[in-house]
């Protein structure tokens, strides 16, 4: 691979510090790898964590493989599947107090009330949920 680099960028090689050259040669493998990945998964977005590829990983249920932002969204998503949850949180909102910098105890249900627009598409569970009743419309 390094040979190919020299062929493609002769102008950059001459007149540059050796360190710069080495850095460029270090960069190019990474870019080549990026090109490989995008060739395999054309729908992959610019930001790592782009949708289709990661939705595939979501279904595999392999948390390690999830890019973190999606993982956290999954956590948020999971909160809203329990209608009892939803109603409790709704009731809580009526008596809502300002959040303090105190301990984060029992933050299972959260304070945010989901609206139908908020709810993303449900992921397939690792464990079949008794509550599985389809999506909230």
């Amino acid at each position: 691979m390094s040979q190919k680099q020299e062929e493609e960028n002769p102008a950059e090689e001459t007149g540059e510090e050796k360190q710069d050259t080495q850095e460029k040669e270090g960069i190019l493998p990474e870019r080549a790898e990026e090109a490989k990945l995008k060739a395999k998964y054309p729908s992959l977005g610019q930001k790592p964590g782009g949708s289709d590829f990661l939705m595939k990983r979501l279904q595999k249920g392999n948390y390690k493989s999830l890019h973190w932002s999606v993982l956290l969204c999954v956590d948020e998503m999971q909160k809203y599947f329990d209608s009892g949850d939803y109603n409790m949180a709704k009731a809580k909102m009526k008596n809502k107090q300002l959040p303090s910098a105190g301990p984060d105890k029992n933050l299972v249900t959260g304070d945010h009330i989901p609206t139908p627009q908020d709810l993303p598409q449900r992921k397939s569970s690792l464990v079949t949920s008794k509550l599985a009743g389809g999506q909230v419309e």
Partner: protein
């Protein structure tokens, strides 16, 4: 290297998920995926068995965490031990903190080598005696018994983390400790289990604005008001708890400037810091990202003072490493007692040691061959270019399932513990 080393290979039933020496180095704790903790103890010097000096034997085993099911979220909570941290020893018993994704537990490990005999109210086998049948009283006497090591849970710190706990760190005040998950860091008092203080919260109001998560956190070894936390974007924030109760604003911000022209799809992922460790001196800290280990001077935020390449040859494999998820592997790193050397793991059961004074580094392998007693560890070399020498291994032959994520270095001596999936290797210098 090539020095003579004593080594032991210990087989674990399950995948080892954490390894930690205590403050004296006499005890070595391992946690595994099944929620078990196994503690090894170093043998004392024994003239009748000179070669057993420094051997580590099983001291105690207990089930620390069980799998749980969060019914509200329909999620299983793994029993895997993410971290173990020892408390400094204050009496005959030993204390450690162990944590899974959600719950931290304080365990007391104590020895019992005497037992009382001659009770009045119960028989030798424990059955209660009829008090009306007792005609004489006796004083129970203490008799020696075979050493029994008991582990008991003394505190359970639960319900404080919405996201997965990645770090715990005992404060130098020996009274408090911190626990960190993806978005928050909590401060606990060791005596108080029903509440904790939230000291860092990076959760945005709108989750779609989330750009980074907390990956590791640690207290400063001497300054009890200072801690650091690392992020998935390769930055480290140092916080001072004296400046405010909520440390969302950092006191120092460590980030190495990136050449924007070199940015790729993988840049952010491989810059994510998987571990941060202060040096024993407290002057430096070390961070581990996917391809390198960096040493930072706490007085200089602009860039690290040292960068050591762990396995730079993987840069041309990033595509497949992303596909097989290896790019998300979280490697740990550790200092030796004098801060003159650092160690971290790699793939193919390789681990790397860097000598900061001589600027030399070595690649070693934790394998069956190396576990023969008094066998010296042969340095390994990965061949990146075309011609492969006899002893070298090519990048494409590396086994990416054999990863060394967890390593530990004895706080004083040249003894290291290396976890290779479900095998624990302990290597020791012959000459101290």
């Amino acid at each position: 290297c090539g020095r003579e080393l004593f080594s032991w290979q210990l087989h674990c039933a399950d995948i080892i998920s954490t390894v930690e020496f205590n403050y004296s180095g006499d005890l070595l704790a391992t946690g595994d995926k099944g929620g078990r903790v196994v503690i090894f103890q170093r043998e004392q010097e024994n003239k009748s068995r000179p070669h057993s000096r420094g051997e580590y034997n099983v001291y105690s085993t207990f089930q620390s965490h069980e799998p749980e099911f969060d019914y509200l979220k329909s999620l299983e909570i793994e029993e895997k031990i993410n971290k173990i941290r020892w408390l400094p020893q204050q009496n005959a018993a030993h204390f450690l903190l162990s944590t899974n994704d959600k719950t931290i537990k304080l365990w007391k490990i104590s020895e019992r080598d005497k037992r009382a005999e001659g009770y009045n109210l119960k028989d030798e086998d424990g059955r209660l005696r009829d008090p009306f049948r007792i005609t004489a009283l006796r004083v129970p006497i203490l008799k020696p018994m075979d050493l029994m090591v008991e582990a008991s849970p003394r505190r359970i710190f639960a319900n404080a983390h919405t996201y997965h706990i990645n770090s715990i760190s005992v404060n130098s005040d020996h009274e408090t400790y911190l626990s960190a998950d993806d978005l928050r860091i909590n401060l606990w008092h060791l005596e108080i289990t029903d509440r904790s203080f939230n000291i860092v919260d990076i959760k945005p109001a709108n989750m779609e604005e989330l750009t980074e998560v907390i990956t590791a956190a640690e207290f400063h070894p001497h300054q009890c008001n200072v801690f650091v936390y690392s992020s998935s974007k390769g930055t480290i924030r140092l916080c001072d708890m004296r400046s405010s109760a909520l440390c969302d604003r950092h006191s120092k911000f460590f980030e190495e400037p990136e050449d924007p022209s070199s940015r790729s799809f993988f840049s952010e992922i491989i810059s994510s810091i998987s571990d941060v460790k202060f040096s024993h001196s407290g002057r430096y800290m070390m961070t581990r990202d996917y391809l390198s280990v960096k040493v930072w001077d706490l007085n200089m935020e602009s860039r690290p003072v040292e960068t050591h390449q762990v396995h730079e040859y993987l840069r041309s494999k990033l595509c497949s490493l992303y596909e097989n998820d290896c790019i998300f592997d979280k490697f740990e790193c550790c200092w030796n007692g004098s801060d003159s050397a650092i160690m971290t793991g790699s793939y193919n059961n390789f681990f790397r040691m860097f000598d900061r004074d001589t600027r030399r580094d070595v690649t070693l392998e934790a394998s069956r061959e190396s576990s023969k007693p008094r066998a010296s560890l042969k340095p390994r070399k990965v061949c990146t270019g075309g011609k492969r020498r006899k002893d070298e291994i090519s990048v494409d032959s590396l086994d990416f399932n054999k990863k060394i994520l967890h390593t530990a270095w004895h706080p004083v001596d040249n003894v290291i513990a290396v976890a290779a999936t479900n095998n624990l290797y302990i290597f020791q210098d012959k000459i101290n």
